[in-house]
């Protein structure tokens, strides 16, 4: 039969190339998703602009105010409350009363309209995190929030993913500190704790950080 089509010689080289190409693309895609797809990449570093240029560095760092002065409920409740405008005014009706930056605060105080702060650390609604429980166990602020005392504008430091939570729940030792140091921003786990993992809070209570589902999901 004449004019029967015959593949050109080069066609033999197509297959190997195609194979390599496809495999390469697949691996890259997987790797990319594995890295960029996680909260580690997506959440960490989130640093929204706040309605009032409040500097944690100034207040918590330079002035050395205790975190609990503003976030007063952190030891009593699941929520570390954002302070009411009242709290700001306790000082700022004497200090910097004329400051333009503080205008929104004074307005809020005058009009009783809350200041719309932008949330930085946000967990899904089906994850029930409780600040008070963690503080009671001796987990300090900086462990999850980082060196807030050095942040002019607050930034998310940790992925806050389930896997990340579990890391610590499986081996809490290195994160536990003396309740007195809870708000101590420059606290470092002492190398001893890292090696011999202790599972008791400093108040002697035995810790069993939940790893089962209903520990966090209700």
């Amino acid at each position: 039969m004449h004019g029967r089509y015959i593949f050109p010689r080069w066609s033999n080289r197509v297959a190997p190339f195609a194979l390599v190409g496809v495999l390469g693309a697949a691996t890259t895609a997987a790797a990319a998703l594995g890295y960029y797809g996680t909260t580690k990449h997506l959440e960490v570093g989130y640093e929204p602009v706040q309605p009032v240029p409040f500097s944690h560095k100034l207040h918590a760092g330079d002035l050395g105010m205790d975190c609990r002065y503003c976030h007063s409920t952190v030891e009593k409740s699941a929520f570390a409350a954002i302070p009411p405008t009242q709290t700001c005014m306790n000082c700022h009706d004497k200090v910097l009363t004329e400051s333009v930056k503080l205008l929104p605060v004074r307005e809020s105080a005058a009009t009783d309209k809350p200041i719309p702060w932008v949330r930085v650390h946000n967990l899904p609604d089906y994850a029930y995190f409780d600040h008070s429980a963690h503080l009671a166990a001796g987990v300090g602020c900086s462990t999850c929030h980082g060196r807030v005392d050095q942040m002019v504008r607050v930034r998310q430091e940790q992925p806050l993913s389930m896997g990340w939570c579990l890391e610590c729940h499986r081996n809490p030792g290195p994160a536990l500190r003396d309740p007195a140091d809870i708000t101590k921003m420059d606290w470092q786990p002492d190398p001893a704790a890292l090696s011999n993992v202790s599972f008791t809070a400093k108040n002697g209570r035995e810790l069993q950080p939940p790893q089962h589902c209903s520990g966090c999901h209700r």
Binding site: R4, I6, N12, V14, A15
Partner: protein
């Protein structure tokens, strides 16, 4: 480079003729030749003096990997990395791992067999000189082709043998 030599291609009408031809070639100590048939002609490998294929060993290797890989994976995931109390059963309950290990064994074996086949046969290879033979289309229909590769030192001897056996359309195809 030396200019490439052609391949000799011809065909017979029946499996029997092909069979005899191959025996002859084999006995004359001709190595670089091949038979092209529309279906596997039984016993032809003996007639051509070919060694058995290594495919089974590849499959065995893949299968074993599958078996141990799957079992190990299940044991680690449910027994070591995140042991959870499920229905009061032990975290690593091997009884429950059997079906999945089995399936993965089969799956990997199948992959080994599939890719092994094409690997060993060096396919896909879309172009091959033998296809230039004018009657090639019958090679996958009802004729039984023989090709002598250029590398064959006893090239001319082979040609004579085939002629003597009444091979049809003896053609030298350019590489």
């Amino acid at each position: 480079m030396p200019e490439p030599k052609p391949t000799l291609v011809c065909y017979f009408d029946t499996p029997a003729d092909l069979f005899h031809a191959c025996e002859k070639l084999r006995d004359t100590g001709i190595k670089h030749f091949d038979a092209h048939t529309p279906f596997p002609v039984h016993g032809l490998e003996k007639a051509m003096g070919l060694k058995p294929t290594k495919l089974p060993w590849i499959v065995l290797a893949c299968g074993t990997t599958g078996l141990f890989g799957a079992t190990l994976m299940q044991w680690w995931m449910s027994g070591v990395d995140y042991p959870i109390n499920i229905s009061g059963k032990p975290a690593a309950a091997f009884q429950a791992f059997v079906p999945l290990s089995f399936e993965v064994t089969i799956l990997l074996s199948a992959f080994g067999c599939f890719f092994g086949l094409w690997g060993l046969t060096k396919l896909p290879k879309f172009y091959d000189p033998v296809m230039k033979h004018p009657s090639w289309h019958r090679a996958t229909d009802d004729k039984f082709f023989v090709s002598i590769e250029p590398a064959e030192p006893k090239f001319e001897e082979a040609r004579k043998i085939l002629e003597s056996l009444g091979a049809h359309e003896m053609v030298e195809v350019e590489p």
